[in-house]
Amino acid sequence: MLYIKCPFCGDRDETEYHYGGEAHIARPENPDELTDAEWAEYVFMRTNTKGVHRERWVHSDGCRRWFNVARNTVTNEIVSVYKTGEKPDLPEASTSKPAPAKKTSAKKKEGA
């Protein structure tokens, strides 16, 4: 279970929130001017990020405010939380850094 820092209330358990899907997908201003494919892109298509993903959450059982979370989908590390309307550059996820190379012996494996 995630532990998410609401920008308005502070750290709370995931159970207080609802997930709102990928962030920064604005509703088109003039849907009528879009082709079916363009409209479908807005309604249905989402990235399937492996790594840091910007997404929306709402603090349903708290302040009821929507906000954005940047979360590493591999480790669930939250690298940033920010308000609607903002889009800060993100720090690198600390847990997605490659491990320092560790030398292992090339000794031939023995046994059956």
Binding site: H18, Y42, A99, E110, G111
Partner: protein
């Protein structure tokens, strides 16, 4: 004769305190400090169960939670508990236990079963033996396996104990209280940080309680005592013993299962909760979970009397219980020599250590040699003798690559085999935390490599098997973890000095050969003891194409028993990798998932197991009246709604018939308070409603109401309800009972993220108002009596209008809306007036025979009128047009949510599934909701399904069954006959308009 194998040693038991217990119907004596397993061993009892598939006799293999064989049912009656590990059950006076895997009894051999079972249970047996004919599965195979396997029995009675949950925060959580864990807790605790130390055992100290290690020149257990005393004196440290950290979830959320009273015996401490689940959020975590010894895989390595080497050492050192009289130690590493030495010191005869390594010259082996123990190198146990107890072993030199026996066999008599195949760090929690593992070729095990969370792994769990490293790493990690949370300077306190004997390298040796190639002949090399998986099974799986470890695991069921393969995973993986001729890291490892060891349901449920606390229950202010007047209730989400009000002798059918008639002929009253209500204010409120509803709202006059549909952007109906204009910039929205919270979130989503420039405020007011719906031809007369100052004439209070007024002496909003088709008023009063108003309605309505009705009658009445219920007629794939409600979609108002999707090719298709009514040929036949529909009576396979029945009722007013359905191209097929299918029964039905009753709407005005 009792406790023939109890010695005068045993550091953690009190021999002066005898405890009586029963196992498989026989009485025994143990002592205080024993586990059930150690007491059985002290009594010479090793045969404790039967194997899952082949019914072979099995003995106690380990001394901890990784035990695969000694699985027992503890006690009988309501407190009985299946599938406990005898190695963890602490002895108490009067304990009674029996083996679970032993039909008909642990000592009774069933030769026939064994012979058949051996052939049935090959690798992939679930997919081969039982597939055809499939009819045999439920009737023959499943009961037979269940009985043979005897997987324990759940008590039938209600659990008499209580359980609870605790939520807690800390800076540093330390899991495991061996040398590494204690050091970490001390270092972190001394900084003043909030520290939690938990351990699954009844005492802190880990392996230091099992061995004879020396710290600072004194027995290590003295250091343990001092360390625990210091921790106990710290107010900032919480110590939890008998507490198993079983889950490591995201963001350092760790769940711990604490057994608080089990060691006193069942029901002995009624004032305490029996078990507790702790939910910790820790800023930093130190994993000091130790390691598990791996069994060697050799021919017939499952005879009772075969034990892991360190387990034998523990039984002797800690409990003063000798595993046997004469034992052979079998190893591929140095650690087993300390076992041989300790067992000799404890009085056991250890004539021989058989070592797979060709050169054995470490300090420990040399010490063993000095004690007169013969060390036979380059050799293995190639056969074992005995059936219900080991009687001897056959040893011989074996080739270094494991392919064959190279020398002549020599027999050694013994009653115990102590095997050590090396050590596997207990990386389960680390792995659960999504940490990445690395295979260490030198240590022959998987070790933690990359952390995914704020976590540090120390000691044996990191592959640092020597005592000094454990102490040093623990202290460093404890101090560093505390510093990361703002406590201390991160400098580790000086560690005490351990006496470390250097060990020579282990030799990887995965399957020890025997006379025949593995898999041929009768000898079996067991890998997974609990699920009876052999090396031959894994080899067969590899030959049959199971090249992924995840496939092999499922095909052979390796590691899928309740022990989760703590002993078998690495051996199984290594055997697979040898078969595939790939290096172990290339084959990978399986994922460990919670729980680390089984957790009982009572603990997981907590106090919620006692019914009322399982989930919040929402009741309206009139609930008590419904209850007193015999209502039956229907849960709608968390709400308890009155379902129907049976009078004496009435069943549901009779009650609903009476209730529906009353509403159509007289006056009925419904508690509609659960409807979702949202107060919407702000200068852009009307503009906002215009965007989120399909119809037009800007020109709705104050004092009027409108029914609306909300869509998602894909054009599909999402919720519905009536919204009323209270003022120029003030609306009262209603939603479905179940959809209220979702609608509010959704409104806020658009307001906050898409249109933040709109000035609109939404507030949930569902609980602020009690809603009474009064309907029927006599409703107006009753309202006029209830509210003499209000004008209820059609002219001044028309349909879809609302009025402020005083009703039954209290302020009210009255809405003239109808979900039944008849004249109807919904009265909203402040919730604390709800019961008063209800009673007043019943009192004044008595002369009209006012009839309270519930949700069932409401459903019938609305279905007679063809009114949809979102979530019943819809499932998120219906447009308003599909529901035949094109009239609710504004054509000229411009954009609204979902509108653009109407002209998408699929949404605009003419032959979509559409809402229609269905009439059965036989008026008495009521269709089953969910019945599938076809155009033809006889269909090819698979049949072309064209829809399903969404609602179906008996309509007393029409004296005919009615149904609503979604039918492909239904709107173009009015009058056609189609077919409804219900588990083989076919019913001919006619497509009709869904408005069955009063199609012209003449009853609306009374």
């Amino acid at each position: 004769m009792t406790e023939q194998f109890r010695t005068t040693q045993g550091s953690r038991v009190d021999r002066s305190k005898a405890i009586n217990f029963t196992f498989n119907g026989k009485n025994y004596k143990g002592v205080e400090g024993d586990t059930l397993a150690s007491a059985l061993i002290a009594n010479g009892v090793h045969l404790v169960g039967r194997s899952f598939k082949t019914h072979r006799p099995r003995g106690i293999l380990t001394c901890g939670s990784e035990e695969p064989n000694a699985i027992i049912q503890l006690e009988t009656g309501p407190r009985s508990e299946p599938n406990l590990r005898a190695t963890q059950v602490e002895l108490y006076e009067g304990l009674s236990a029996k083996s679970v895997n032993c039909w008909p009894s642990v000592n009774f051999d069933i030769a026939a079963v064994n012979a058949i079972a051996g052939r049935i249970f090959v690798a992939g047996f679930y997919y081969k033996t039982f597939m055809k004919p499939s009819s045999l599965w439920m009737t023959v195979w499943e009961p037979a396996i269940r009985r043979m396997a005897g997987l324990g029995v759940l008590p039938r009675e209600k659990d008499p104990d209580t359980y609870d949950h605790m939520n807690e925060f800390c800076e540093v959580m330390v899991v495991g209280s061996g040398p590494a864990g204690l050091s970490a807790a001390l270092a972190a605790g001394r900084t003043g940080a909030r520290v939690v130390l938990c351990d699954e055992h009844p005492e802190f100290g880990g392996t230091l309680l099992n061995t004879k290690e020396i710290i600072d020149g004194k027995p290590a257990q003295e250091w343990v005592k001092t360390a625990v005393a210091e921790l106990e004196a710290m107010d900032n440290v919480r110590l939890l013993k008998r507490a198993n950290a079983f889950g490591y979830y995201d963001h350092n959320y760790i769940t711990v299962h604490e057994r608080r009273t089990d060691h006193f015996g069942p029901g002995a401490k009624p004032e305490l909760t029996r078990q507790r689940i702790w939910h910790f959020r820790s800023k930093q975590v130190v994993l000091a979970t130790g390691s598990h010894e791996r069994p060697l895989v050799f021919a017939d390595n499952d005879r009772p009397g075969t034990m892991l080497a360190a387990a034998g050492q523990t039984y002797a050192n800690r409990y003063g219980a000798l595993p046997g009289r004469r034992g052979v130690v079998f190893t591929n590493n140095d650690s087993a020599y300390s076992v041989a030495i300790d067992l000799v010191d404890a009085g056991m005869d250890i004539p021989t250590v058989v070592d797979l390594r060709e050169v054995v010259d470490g300090d420990l082996p040399n010490t063993a040699r000095k004690k007169g123990i013969e060390v036979i190198t380059g050799s293995g146990i190639v056969a074992t003798l005995g059936r219900k107890r080991v009687k001897g072993v056959e040893i011989a030199t074996v080739s270094s690559d494991g392919s064959q026996v190279t020398g002549t066999k020599r027999k050694i008599d013994c009653d115990t085999i102590l095997s050590s195949g090396g050590w596997s760090p207990a990386v389960h929690l680390f792995s659960q935390s999504i940490g990445k593992l690395r295979y260490d070729e030198e240590k022959v095990c998987f070790v933690p490599n990359v952390s995914s969370q704020n976590e540090r792994t120390v000691g044996a769990c990191k592959g640092s098997f020597d005592l000094q490293s454990a102490l040093d790493e623990g202290a460093a990690a404890g101090a560093a973890a505390a510093k990361d949370t703002g406590f201390g300077k991160g400098k580790a306190p000086a560690s005490p000095k351990a006496l470390v004997v250097e060990e020579k390298p282990i030799k990887a040796y995965w399957v020890v050969p025997t006379d025949h190639p593995v898999g041929q002949g009768k000898r079996k090399h067991f890998v997974d003891f609990q699920h009876d998986v052999t090396a031959a099974d894994i080899m067969l799986a590899a030959r049959e194409g199971m090249h992924s470890v995840e496939h092999m695991k499922r095909y052979t069921t390796t590691g899928m028993a309740t022990d989760q393969g703590k002993l078998s995973n690495v051996n199984g993986l290594a055997i697979l990798s040898s078969q595939l001729e790939k290096a172990i890291p290339k084959v990978g490892t399986t994922t460990f998932r919670p729980p680390y060891t089984p957790v009982n349901f009572g603990a997981l449920a907590g106090r919620g197991i006692n019914g009322d606390l399982a989930d919040p229950v929402r009741r309206t202010p009139m609930y008590s009246w419904h209850l007193e007047n015999g209502a039956t209730f229907e849960p709608v989400g968390q709400w308890q709604r009155a379902w129907y009000y049976p009078k004496a002798g009435e069943d549901m059918h009779a009650a609903v018939t009476r209730e529906t008639a009353a509403l159509r002929d007289g006056v009925g009253i419904l508690d509609a308070s659960t409807l979702g209500k949202i107060d919407i204010q702000g200068k852009d409120a009307a503009k906002f409603l215009n965007l989120i509803y399909t119809n037009a709202w800007l020109k709705l006059p104050v004092g009027m109401c409108r029914y609306g549909f909300m869509l998602k952007e894909d054009g599909m109906v999402f919720d519905d309800g009536v919204t009323s204009r209270l003022g120029e910039n003030h609306f009262h929205m209603t939603t479905t009972t179940g959809g209220a919270a979702g609608v509010l979130d959704w409104l806020e989503e658009y307001l906050q993220t898409e249109w933040p420039d709109l000035e609109v405020y939404c507030t949930s007011v569902t609980e602020e108002w009690s809603t009474l719906s009064i309907g029927g031809p006599k409703a107006r007369q009753l309202l006029e009596e209830l509210a003499p100052d209000m004008d209820f004439s059609n002219e001044n209070f028309p349909f879809m209008a609302w009025r402020d007024g005083v009703v039954a002496g209290v302020d009210a909003r009255v809405f003239r809306i109808s979900f039944t088709g008849d004249l109807s008023y919904e009265i909203n009063v402040r919730n604390w007036h709800g019961l008063h108003l209800w009673k007043k309605c019943m009192e004044l309505g008595e002369k009209y025979d006012i009839t309270p009705y519930g949700t069932e009658t409401m459903h019938v009445l609305r279905a007679e009128k063809g009114f949809v219920i979102v979530g019943q007629e819809t499932d998120g794939t219906q447009t308003p047009q599909d529901l035949g409600m094109d009239w609710i979609v504004a054509k000229k108002k411009g954009d609204f949510v979902g509108r653009r999707s109407f002209i998408r090719e699929d949404t605009a298709r003419a032959d979509r599934k559409q809402l229609v009514g269905l009439m059965t040929d036989n008026p008495k036949e009521v269709l089953t909701e969910g019945a599938q529909l076809t155009y033809e009576r006889v269909n090819p396979t698979p049949a072309p399904m064209v829809g399903h029945v969404t609602s179906s009722y008996w309509s007393p007013n029409l004296d005919h069954s009615i149904a609503m359905a979604l039918v492909k191209d239904g709107h173009n097929r009015m009058g056609q006959w189609i077919y409804a299918h219900d588990r083989g029964k076919v019913t001919k039905v006619k497509i009709v308009s869904p408005v069955f009753y009063d199609p012209k709407g003449e009853r609306r005005d009374g």
